[in-house]
Each structure stands twice: as C-alpha cells, then as structure tokens.
Symmetry: D2
C-alpha cells in the first residue's frame, strides 16, 4: 500500500492566465486532485468517506511556486498523507513537469475531521487503520 | 419593480487566459452573478429561494462572444427573467463594457423548477406572483 | 484518423456546487478538454496551432444539461469537429457517465480563425487538410 | 494613502462546493481581488503595472480557513502590502463576514518582481516610492 501516490494531469486552457502560465489558485485545485487519487489508491475513495458521514475540510494550505507550466503541459503530481497530531491530517504535494522533472509547485494542506454539519469529529478507527498501515 | 437589472463587475485576473482576454467559460459564472443580483433586486434573493426548498437548475445555456474584455475591465451585466412556458424560466443576459457600451457577451440560460432532490417541482404561487408583477 | 474523439475525465471536487452536482459553467471547461484531446488525436495539439500563430477563439457556445454528475464520477467526453462555412469550426460535444452511458451534457462550440492580435484570419491550408481528411 | 485596503465581495454560487461552503481554492481568487483593489486604491492599478512591463507573480501563498461562508454571503476583504526584503512583496489578507466580522480566511501571498519573460526584475523607483509612502 503506497505512502504516497503519483499521477499526471495536463494544464487546462482555462487554468492559464494572461501571464501565459497557470493561474496561482489552480494549484489548490490540483492538490485536491492529488488527494482524490491518493485516497483512491489507498482503497478508500473520498466520495465514500463523505458517504460514511466523515468530511476532511482543508483548514490550512501552503503553496510555493517554483516554475512555470503552460497550457497542455503534462504535470506529475505526487501526494502523501500523514497525521499531524491525533486530529489533523497533513498532505504534502509536489508537482513537477512529467517530461523533465522540473519543479512547478510544492506545498501542503492540513485537514480536520468533521461531520456533515461541520462539527469536529474524531477520526474513526477504519480511517486510522487505513492511514497508519502505510507508515508502519 | 424592475423587469431587468444591471450591475457592474470587474474581470478578475484568474478569469483571463493566455489569449489575454477572459476565458470563455467565465461568461456562465457572470450570468450567474447577474441572476443573483436580479433576484435580489426583485426582493427575493436566490439563497432564500433555496431555503424555501425550491431550486432553479440551469437546463440550457447559450453564449455568444461579441468582443474582448481584459483583466480589470469594468463590465455592465444586464439580466432579465421571463417565463418560457409554465415550467421554465428564461434569463437573457447582455454584457458590455461599462465605459464604452461595446458588447462583450450575449446569451441566455433556461431554468427548471426542482426540489431539493432534483425532482421537477411546480413553480410556487409566491414565485409566480413575484415574477409576473414586473411584466404586467 | 478519427472524425470524433472520446476520452474520460473525473468530476473534480471544486467543480461541484452546493446543489451537490457539477456547477453549470464547468461544462464549458470540459468542452475545452474535449477539443484539446480531439486535436491531439488528430495529430495537431492546439498548443502547436497557437505556436504557428493561429487561434481558434470560441465565438458561440451552447449547452444542454441532461443529467446530474457528482464528485469523482467518471465521465466520457466525445468531441467532434466540422466546418461551419469556410471561416468557422463547429465542435459538437456529448458527455455521459462512463459506467452507464446516462447523458450528462450535450452541446457545441463555434470557433473563428484569428491571429495573435485577435483579427480574423483565413484557415491555413495545413489545417484545412487536416480537418477535411476525416470527413472525406 | 492607505497602508491597507478593505472592500466587500459576495460568495458566488460557482464558488461553493458540495460541502455547502466556499471551495478552498477560491480563497486565492479572493486574495487576488484584494490585491487588485489595494493597488487601485494606492493609485496604481495592477493592469497599469503590467503595461509598464513589470509583473508581480505569486511565488508563495498561505491560507488558513477559519470559518464557513455560504453562497451570497457578503465578505469583507482587507489586504495590505509590505516589502519582504528588497526583492519581494508580501500581501497579508484577512477575510471576514461583513455583517458579523466572524473570520473566514486569513493568509498572505509573496510576490517577486519579474519582466514580461518571467525573469527577475529590480523593483523600479516609481513602485518603491509608491509602496514606501504609506508605511513612513
């Protein structure tokens, strides 16, 4: 079971801006795609997590912009997940050009555990089991 | 009470693309802003409509791109609303440069009436009353 | 050489809205992804078309919303391209659930030929040759 | 001349996600709106800065999510700008509900000085003069 997961995506035309590179906010959209694919690879798609009544809202995000990426460039997104205390998850992400490995974006998000109403929830055992396995 | 409503918005940096003008899909976001402000002007903010359990999902959209608009350009969005049969609303929109009236986008959306689960709903009397008033 | 092209994409979390389905403007982003993949399949990535100084700005778009699609649903996007007169391209698109073929969105975009400055351009021979081949 | 600038914006429908609050990446779009309005208030719209050949690309961004905001909520965005060394600008931002002052988002972006080609540029005197005035 992977401690981290890598997949590729292409920069969409609508993700560029007039500077000719991707617009800065799109990095957070890509971080989300990375978490989605990581959780799927871990055997627990995030859609199923929400169906079980658990939400992982982003409570902090950090992004460093390291290089340009243009429309249709193929990017490699590598995402991992780790506990940050008992009540937080932290997901580091690295995005680089697939062809050259030249870095594009690096950063992380921090997630709380919440129920459907947005109230703090305890991470359930099934999630702890899943997330701790790769790191043992 | 207005049959149509006009407000202004500025093109955001993230709404531009590498062609240097606004990205085509953003027009539909602006149409939404126009409907939001129109319904507020009619005395019934859309947020309240949804709180009453009524949804107006877009079932058709049409956009004609008539001119360029760049980052930070001030645009004038004029939106109106009319019945298209008993079970549909139609919202024509015109977007032009505020300074010159040069046209930017023209189009319309068609909306169904639905309940929270997305099932077809009858337009309630309070909405009929509200929407028919301006056109009498 | 294909007259039409099909690829799949997943609904991103950020593409949903509070109605729980994808936000209507996102359909136009997906149409763009479809055109990008179609042109790549035709052997002429759109990035290269722009490098040659030719732009294909959207001058009209039409979208019909036929069904819901939720976060992480896998969608099948089928795009084709045809001439609409000598100076326009028309790209019909159909989007359906990959698993069930249930329709989600249907529509089309119309494109002009323009140069870097946004002025009308004649479609160059290399593009005519490329686009007419599949339809002979 | 203001050291910081406050303006209001409304959460757009397309900025919500299926959790019912704004999607996390949208905070960076709002940060951009804040910088745009701050620079306008300082007498130098960012569009003019780019016309002079100077670009201020985001090289780092940090966001803390402090509270929920729903569709059509009116938010107050307060942005300031300061030097971070000689070659960097730092723009702290605070976003709160206009009605209650309940915090929604807090964060900052860091900007480099670049020319049209994305190469590092020295901050020109006219910008130094402008930005240092409010903090004297």
């Amino acid at each position: 079971m992977p401690a981290s997961h890598t997949f590729t995506l292409r920069v969409r035309y609508g993700e560029t801006d007039q500077m000719g590179t991707f617009y800065n906010a799109r990095a957070l959209d890509w971080f989300e795609c990375g978490r989605t694919e990581l959780l799927r690879a871990l055997g627990l798609p995030y859609a199923e997590i929400e169906e079980r009544g658990l939400y992982l809202p982003v409570i902090e995000a950090h992004v460093e912009y390291l290089g340009r990426a243009r429309y249709d460039d193929l990017l490699r997104v590598t995402t991992s997940v780790e506990f940050a205390g008992r009540a937080r998850l932290r997901c580091p992400v690295e995005i680089a050009h697939a062809a050259t490995s030249a870095p594009v974006v690096r950063g992380w998000t921090v997630h709380a555990f919440a129920d459907r109403q947005g109230r703090v929830a305890r991470p359930p055992l099934w999630l702890l089991t899943l997330l701790e396995k790769p790191f043992v």
